[in-house]
Symmetry: C2
Subunit: 101 residues, 2 copies
């Protein structure tokens, strides 16, 4: 009946990040920070988890002497995201079978 929900995606902040990344070429740490409203620490942790899972790639460089971290969703990331969205449909479906009682 219910498909499993990827626990790595079924988390508010990580899902926000993936949702943001799926629509863009890449995004900076500070951009994700602003869009999500998360704390830097939390965002850092969740980005690491997504990277470790191979859902995103993280590039670290410098810009104007400051560290610059950019994230980009991977093909696998797109795939699992789409799968998650599809699995979730089962859970949100409003038209259900009739009463049990």
């Amino acid at each position: 009946m219910f498909k499993e929900l990827d626990p790595l995606l079924h988390s508010q902040l990580r899902l926000q990040v993936m949702s943001l990344l799926v629509g863009v070429e890449s995004a900076e740490f500070t951009y994700l920070l602003e869009e999500t409203g998360a704390t830097r620490g939390n965002l850092s942790v969740q980005i690491t988890k997504l990277k470790d899972a191979g859902y995103i790639n993280v590039n670290k460089s410098f810009r104007n002497n400051y560290p610059l971290t950019t994230c980009k969703i991977t093909p696998k990331g797109v795939e699992v995201f789409e799968k998650y969205v599809e699995a979730l449909q089962d859970y949100l479906n409003m038209d259900k079978k009739s009463s049990t009682q």
Copy 2:
């Protein structure tokens, strides 16, 4: 940008339970058990949380000498479930603004 996701609903098992209940008049503990595939302990805990939040009503009685627990979603439960589903749309939206890079 992103609306908050009710943490009580943003949980695989509790969401399954709510999803099942939203479509029926009421459902028995054992029915929820079968449909969700959860353990009895876990289901018991999550049902209690949903009850404490006022999202469902729980009725305890007996049938054939055995305990019978039935759950029914409350108006508030329907409301928060619908709100959750709506909030989630932000996260699943595939058509996003163009690149940041």
